[in-house]
């Protein structure tokens, strides 16, 4: 790994005016969407400068989401692993049960400012769909969510939650029926209904300004962590760790620390059945740069540039791409990207249940799996913060199916 202290310049300043983080990002969309993307960019820049916007968002964070989310010292997990002190950033305690609500609140306020009257979204695990349906109910917008048919099945509880909240869920059968296909379909809806529709993208990916905007809305995770850690320990952590689907919970935790060069930063991709198989979603570890869904970034693809279907036990990580800022951070060496298999995530899932009485999302369990590997190799006075991006209630069916079988498909 590159020693972050030797990096010459700040890596936190992107994107540039054209939406590039180094060579990654950009605005690779069709002409129909381009004027809209430019409008959105302008509206977001204005909102960012408007104290009223921030005031409204802060109030919602406090009273509606229940922020700030605790930074919790996981004493029994720390003891069990016998190394570094482990803190959990408890995004799973947010209203709707994950970090996704941070982004949805920011974007719905923007949609309102822009005078849009209809909201669409894509979802994988359903957490973003639930968060979107939630803010739509709260602000009185009709809400339509595109969700891969495979995911509709494996995340059934979330489909029901979306329906309860007034969201209409469209199962997408194209491709493998997972997140990538849901995103294609949401983009098709958007070009068809550009005039009145706002598309709430659920992760730090897509055409500029989405990656930067979603990052900004999620950065509250890292900002709070910094303050809380200074209050609890009087210093910054030694290591940050988060799982990567499209990369929003990770960039939200990481971004405020990027220029703190002594803080080691680790992102965890889904290795599915293993990186030596084709059944994983580790685009940064096993993909190569390409262009999809409006941005240039690392993608799982074949030699002819066809996008591959990934696999992960966790629907929220089942995406063949990654937000462009992570691609940039990978190449720059500032962040280390590793991976955890389905099996490792399941073990981590159970360990957190047993040691801390917390049922983590399968997505977040990938980050915990990395902590299980690292903490024992670190000193007892070192500190790891892991982003507990979501709670695992939605996953109990999936987990019971695998545990019931006794072993994982391999």
């Amino acid at each position: 790994m590159t020693d972050p202290t030797t990096l010459p310049n700040s890596v936190s300043q992107g994107p540039d005016d054209r939406g590039f983080f180094g060579i990654y990002g950009g605005r690779f969309v069709s002409e129909t969407l381009m004027p809209l993307i430019l409008d959105l960019d302008k509206a977001y820049r204005e909102a960012k400068e408007d104290p009223e916007f921030h005031k409204e968002l802060a109030k919602l964070h406090k009273d509606y989401v229940g922020r700030q989310s605790p930074l919790y010292f996981a004493e029994r997990l720390t003891e069990h692993l016998g190394g570094a002190k482990i803190y959990l950033k408890r995004e799973e305690l947010n209203h709707t049960g994950s970090h996704k609500i941070n982004n949805c609140l920011g974007q719905i306020l923007l949609a309102k400012r822009m005078g849009k009257t209809r909201i669409i979204a894509e979802t994988g695990a359903g957490q973003h769909g639930v968060a979107t349906a939630t803010v739509c109910a709260r602000f009185g917008f009709p809400c339509e969510v595109y969700m891969g048919a495979t995911d509709v099945e494996r995340q059934a509880p979330n489909v029901f939650r979306m329906n309860l909240l007034g969201g209409v869920v469209h199962p997408v059968t194209a491709g493998a029926g997972t997140l990538k296909d849901a995103m294609n379909e949401a983009l098709r809806d958007w070009v068809t209904n550009v005039a009145d529709t706002y598309y709430i993208i659920g992760t730090a990916a897509g055409p500029h300004p989405y990656p930067a905007m979603v990052r900004d809305f999620q950065s509250i995770i890292g900002q709070e962590t910094k303050e809380q850690m200074l209050a609890a320990e009087g210093r910054l952590p030694d290591m940050l760790c988060a799982c990567l689907g499209g990369g929003s919970n990770a960039i939200g935790l990481f971004h405020p620390f990027l220029d703190d060069k002594d803080v080691q930063i680790v992102g965890v991709e889904a290795a599915g059945y293993g990186l030596d198989t084709d059944e994983h979603c580790a685009s940064l570890n096993a993909g190569k740069p390409g262009v999809l869904h409006g941005n240039r970034t690392y993608l799982l693809q074949d030699d002819d540039g066809q996008i591959l279907e990934g696999h992960s036990i966790s629907a929220g990580l089942d995406y063949p791409g990654i937000g462009p800022e992570h691609s940039f951070l990978r190449d720059s060496g500032r962040v280390e990207y590793v991976s955890a298999t389905d099996t490792e995530a399941l073990e981590a899932f159970q360990l957190l249940c047993q040691t801390e009485g917390i049922i983590p999302a399968l997505e977040s369990s990938h980050a915990i799996a990395e902590v299980i590997k690292r903490a024992p190799t670190m000193d007892k006075d070192q500190i790891i913060v892991v982003n507990l991006s979501g709670r695992g209630d939605k996953d109990v069916n999936t987990v019971s199916k695998f545990l019931g079988k006794g072993s994982l498909a391999e």
Partner: protein, 276 residues
Amino acid sequence: MEKTRIDTRFAACKAENRAALVGFITAGDPDLDTSLEIFKALPKAGVDVIELGMPFSDPMAEGVPIQLATQRALAGGHTMAKTFDMVRAFRKEDNETPIILMGYYNPIYVRDPKAFVKDAKEAGVDGMIVVDVPPEHDDELCIPAREAGVNFIRLATPTTDEKRLPKVLENTSGFVYYVSVTGITGTGALDADKVAIAVKSIKDHTDLPVAVGFGVKTPEQAEAIGRNADGVVVGSVLVNAIKDSLDADGKATDKTVSAVTDIVKGLADGCKRAKA
């Protein structure tokens, strides 16, 4: 840039007093051999300019007909190399009909854009339409294409306003493709009067021919659109004809080629009547 077959063909259609018929098929649909046969049969049936779709796994701007065509091609093992093979095979017999490759950026990006446009030119390609590379990223593909002598044909849409139009037209050559609906291919109800206004406004800004597509299905629509536009683009109706001609296993039948050419003939007549 140098004149291409596209420039020559639009000029010829104008001289013959008809709208150019631009026909789209997906390369490799439903299989390589049949696709090549359809490709070669298009000019005789009345297609003036051929758009050959480069299949991509994630065709975000396509409606169901072209999505399915793409899936048929990819399921049959189609690759970019085979698309180039088709162009070369076509060129052996026809050195006049313009060929435009249409698709998405990623399969081009992974081959390297500069190498791609050079290979395309050598194979006999005249123009390119790449849906997800807007003028904001002209340096990536549009400029290298122009330098290689390949027209980069840009889409103008109902969301492209007067202010933006010059930017869209800036590096465009060959013709301007006006997308008649806000939406994906193969859907939407065509409003010929609205299209006429849009075409006129584009013509106020450029001397390039303007072709109109997305949603043209019948000879009557081709005629109505062709009255104001220089060209009429049809795609979904052709790939749907391919689909409907397949047997229960999804294989081509002896009706597959004629299913396409029959429709083309009617549309070509519409294009002729448009300027009559």
